[in-house]
Amino acid sequence: MHFSEFWNDIGELTVTGLSQGSIYALFALGYTLVYGLLRLINFAHSEVFMVGSFAAVGTWKALGLDQNSQTPVLPVVLLLLVAALLVAALASGATALLVELVAYRPLRHRNAPPLAFLITAIGASVVLSEFVGILTHRRPQGVPPLVEPRPLVTIAGTQITNLQVGTIALALVAMFGLDVFIHRSRWGRGIRSVSQDPTTAALMGVNRSQVISLVFLLGGLMAGVAAVMYDLKIGGTRYDAGFALGVKAFTAAVLGGIGNLRGALLGGLCLGLAENYGAGVFGTEWHDVVAFALLVVVLMFRPTGLLGESLGRARA
């Protein structure tokens, strides 16, 4: 127990927690969207994220940068970041579509029991992570020093770095965009209708297969964005980076109420904060324990998460 240090560091812990939490939140969207639609834990989503993180590193490498290069000037950095975001999002989105096509669609056509989906997802996850592992010889890949963490603003004695501000802002923008897409657009209405009642939606002329593909694509895109932020934060990636983080992101989704977009944001941020506060009080090695203990306590009092399950249910 280190309560005095905890109170001294609370500002910093909050900011790190929020930036970590926004990565969880973006990552969690993939779980929550697919679950809301298909009642299925998309176990392979962690590998979708991992592919995105490698796509970003690959982009920078292709443009001639590795972990030993100098930090380029600001406009170049911005261009590089945008390029990496685009490539990573597309790569993750494509991977998610591929997983849906290879691992889930054939089972759906055969009316398989729900557990079968979980197992093909596990299979797909193993295949993807091993495939990348073999390609990279299981070595970690370094990220070029694009963004030098520099204090940007100071609030109440807490320095907030440009990277943290960027991460939180980007996550909020991406989630706001997704929320608008789901609640305002024609496609979003399709998603909500299928998640409410697949049969009726199909009778009303919604193409269920297309909606399912779209949801996987959206989840993949968000995971790609999260992957770039993760690369910059950690400074590298590994073929097995997705699994541990995926467990956390799924926890975040459940914490906020799985199937609920805003729940994913809330869950991600809460999880990030709880983890960092827990690490501050009990020591770094216990931060996972605090995260899962929080989950159990929340589920005991709110069995469907903080905001409850609803992709289409709450407001149609």
Partner: protein, 400 residues
Amino acid sequence: MTPTTPSGADPSTGERLSTQDPPLLVERSGEGETPRREPEGGSSPRGPRRRRELADLPPVVRYAICAGILGAAYLLPWVGRVPVIGPQIQTQGIDWPSALFNMSYFVLLALGLNVVVGFAGLLDLGYVGFFAVGAYTVAVLASPDSDLDQRWPWLACVPVAIGVCLFSGLLLGWPTLRLRGDYLAIVTLGFAEIIRVFADSSSLLRGDRGLGSIPHPPGNWSDGSPIFSVRDATPYYWLGLTLIVLMVLAVRNLKASRVGRSWLAIREDEEAAELMGVRTVRFKLWAFAIGAAIGGFGGVLFAGEQGFLNSATFQLMFSVLVLAGVVMGGSGSIPGAILGGALISYIPDRLRGVQIAGTDAFEYRFLIFGLMIIIIMIFRPQGLLPDRRRVATTQDQEER
């Protein structure tokens, strides 16, 4: 997607009742007589043909077949001496008795997880946690590295370890079993992660330095040399196999008992079960505790063979693999759990040391393994040796 009209609703429920009734009646009429247990559900017109044939045989023949299979299983360490097929079966990159032993504790784990997932329908993603609890209990009590410095013999640790596992099953189950399906999955996953972090950080379990010199099971050959040594894994395999046989007998009887029927009712429809007077929380707790105890047997066996444990032994992926084995074999089916558990250990081990197009398959073994999981599940979504009643239920739901 069949369009449901209000008038179509009634016949479909009627159909559902009629398909579910016969198996229930068969089960009740067979109560009390163990030999009749196996043809359970045999009158269902939809059971896979192969197993109905086995069940239709007279008991003597059936027992003879089971004894034959069991005998063959005990002789498996010498399968390499069988001409032509023997060397094909045997693993190359890892010595065959060790591979067999690995299969035996994976089968034990699959049997235990099958009780939780297959019988009671509770999705447990953190099953490795109980395996770890069992193994660590032995290590802490028996290893000279442990702070407790008890140095118990292996055999004395076994009942304590199983007790601790039962208790930890209850402890995890008590706050979490009110949760539904997928929520339970994530909480159990968290439990396994907590156990791993605890093993990593607590001073008692010594993190990655681990606990060594855990004693082997007791016993000597007639020439005075110990039966269980580091040189040969064959006796461990036989011990594992014996435990498997005992567990299969226990689990099979449980499945047919009052507890097993309650699990089945909970799995099919929890609300309905509760309304019919099944104490759902109590029986779910039972499933958790019994599953945990069987996982604990796996852990005890593992600790006895390895002689060393550290926090890196119990990765989360492990329990995911066991779950894949259970479902691949056929959720809820005991032969399925045995086959699935054996396969998840055998396939990667068999691929070690195999040359594919000039390169060692060792590097690709999990890639190939993952592909096999996907292919098996796509072509046999019910599992390799499915449980008849489960198949009937899913077909039933399709029709609804």
